[in-house]
């Protein structure tokens, strides 16, 4: 299968000498839902900026669906749709004009551009706002506008840089549903996000980048298997005021009043339920905690930055 994105030995050194990327290699298969994770300043936006031609690379190779950006930039760009982190449209222009103008830049005639714009503005719930100047939209609407604009030329690869930053939970969930549907229909998606729950819920493959280097580049499943324990959230029939003491398990209450229990790998869940039964606690539902990735992410980034460990430990 063709790779949607191939990056080899990518280096970026800015004018002030700061090396943002130190020779990274990355590949994203066609049809994948891929997350590029990393702390602030790790090199995520620089990497995506180079792929999208917003940043000049210092050296290395980038290919989008086989088209080298050094030799076949136009072909590479035709396959790309970009949703940047910051709002980057003309705030005075109307929603419909912003989307159709973007289509025009890709050489799509106005009639076809208008049809495509209507399709995506409707799907993203913005059709009623089509004649509204962009500055009048809410933050969530502006994010959706950028997604509609990125999709108007039907790209095969959609890149989203922090697409749900500052968006409320309800809207974030609806955007996830939309992106999952796009992915199901064949669009390869690469996203960066600070919400690791988002990456865990959506993505199949993940790369973790820090200080311009790729720390891990693997499947989400393989990454999560590294965890030595799993956390379960238990909803009880009667509300608990404090977590019951469970021999061999660590338990505590979360902010929403649910019982949270850490279970070591290989440890049987039966022992936990026997003890809960004995203490008169009736469990009505159970789920795994969704931010397991966060734990791994923090661990990897800390391992890569030994100076960030507590001063007291080394004194």
């Amino acid at each position: 299968m063709t790779n949607a994105l191939e990056i080899e030995g990518l280096v970026k050194t800015y004018g002030d000498g700061f090396q943002a990327l130190k020779g990274i290699d990355l590949h994203v298969a066609e049809g994948d839902f891929f997350a590029l994770l990393g702390p602030n300043g790790a090199g995520k936006s620089t990497t995506l900026g180079i792929v999208c031609s917003l940043v000049n690379k210092s050296s290395g190779k980038v290919r989008v669906f086989g088209s080298d950006i050094d030799t076949h930039l136009s072909d590479a760009k035709l396959n790309l749709g970009v949703v940047p982190q910051e709002f980057n449209f003309n705030q005075f222009e109307k929603v419909f004009d912003i989307v159709t103008t973007q289509a025009g830049y890709y050489g799509i005639p106005l009639k076809k551009a208008s049809e495509s714009a209507e399709k995506y503005l409707r799907q993203l719930g913005l059709w009623d706002k089509r004649n509204t100047p962009a500055m009048m939209l809410s933050g969530g609407m502006k994010r959706r506008l950028m997604i509609a604009r990125a999709l108007v030329h039907e790209p095969k690869l959609l890149i989203l840089d922090e697409p749900t930053a500052g968006v409320d939970i309800e809207l974030r969930r609806s955007m996830w549903t939309f992106l999952e549907e796009m992915n199901r229909q064949g669009t390869t998606i690469i996203l960066t996000t600070h919400y690791l729950e988002e990456a865990e819920a959506l993505c199949r493959n993940i790369a973790i980048i820090d200080h311009g280097k790729i720390l891990r580049h693997t499947s989400k499943r393989a990454l999560l298997q590294q965890l030595s324990s799993e956390t379960f959230v238990l909803d009880t029939a009667e509300p608990l005021t404090e977590a019951p003491v469970l021999d061999g398990f660590f338990s505590h209450m979360d902010d929403e009043g649910a019982l949270v229990v850490d279970v070591e790998k290989g440890q049987s869940l039966n022992g936990m339920f026997v003890q809960l039964e004995a203490q008169g606690v009736r469990v009505v539902s159970m789920r795994t905690k969704a931010n397991r990735l966060e734990e791994l992410f923090i661990r990897m980034v800390e391992d890569n930055n030994p100076r960030n460990t507590k001063q007291g430990e080394t004194a």
Binding site: C52, S53, L54, V82, F89, Q102, G104, G107, I108
Partner: protein, 257 residues
């Protein structure tokens, strides 16, 4: 990118540029119309009647070509510099940078946008001038060539200014401290025959003098300089500024990190 797709992209840029200056017409179309009407009334009618003839024509007829050219120059420049810098400032330039539009199409689109406003203003000022004097065309091809090429040249100038600008102050420095003095000293209001020999020589290094005189030649048939030399100079400057603009776009000067 295919040729028809490039043409669509070019039309998209031009349409957006025209839509922009039409949307804010009280800032873009009205001020030059008001200013030029005041010039016609004050310099042409009130003061001009006491000055008498210049270059064999009454003063009003003499300054009209210069004032038309002045409005074309300033409007062409202002349109591109403010539009492109606003796109940089709002980062909406990224919409173009991520798309497959070739740099020369981007440049052609902006220059055409600047020319649309410059020539539109030139047309409005010409209509206004008809309320004050009669205009007869001496050499139509010279009029058309001069006004189109001058408009293109100053659109390119505005583009380079916008590429180099990092803050809003930077887009007003050149129009205020370079363009306006050169225009006023470019023979809009007087024939350089009136100047002492030394200052006539200094005036000859002002490129705007050539454009104003070539245009005046096209309308009145009089000029302080050879109009064909003026056309040649405009073409040369267009070639130089186009090359600089394309080079800056290719390097991403001020628009790519």
């Amino acid at each position: 990118m295919r040729t028809d797709a490039m043409l669509t992209a070019y039309k998209t840029i031009v349409t957006r540029e025209i839509r922009r200056f039409m949307r804010i017409w009280p800032q873009t179309l009205l001020p030059p119309a008001v200013t030029m009407t005041l010039y016609f009334i004050i310099f042409g009618n009130l003061i001009g009647s006491r000055i008498g003839a210049m270059g064999g024509f009454d003063y009003m007829a003499f300054i009209v070509p210069g004032l038309i050219m002045m409005s074309v120059i300033t409007s062409s420049y202002a349109n591109v510099v403010s539009s492109f810098f606003s796109m940089k400032f709002q980062r909406s330039i990224e919409e173009l940078l991520v798309s497959p539009v070739p740099n020369w199409v981007i440049l052609a689109g902006y220059v055409t946008g600047g020319m649309s406003r410059g020539l539109g203003i030139g047309f409005i000022v010409t209509l206004l001038s008809l309320g004050f004097t009669q205009l007869s065309i001496h050499h139509l091809p010279m009029v058309i060539l001069t006004v189109f090429l001058t408009s293109a040249l100053f659109s390119l100038g505005g583009f380079i200014n916008a590429m180099l600008a990092t803050k809003f102050d930077d887009i007003s420095i050149v129009p205020t401290f370079v363009l306006t003095p050169l225009t006023y000293l470019g023979g809009v209001f007087y024939s350089i025959d009136l100047l002492p020999g030394f200052w006539q020589g200094v005036s000859m290094i002002n490129p705007i003098l050539y454009m104003v005189n070539a245009f005046r030649y096209g309308i009145l048939g009089v000029s302080d300089v050879n109009p064909y030399l003026a056309l040649g100079m405009i073409l040369l400057f267009i070639a130089i500024l186009s090359a600089i603009s394309l080079r800056m776009l290719a390097r991403g000067k001020g628009i790519r990190h």
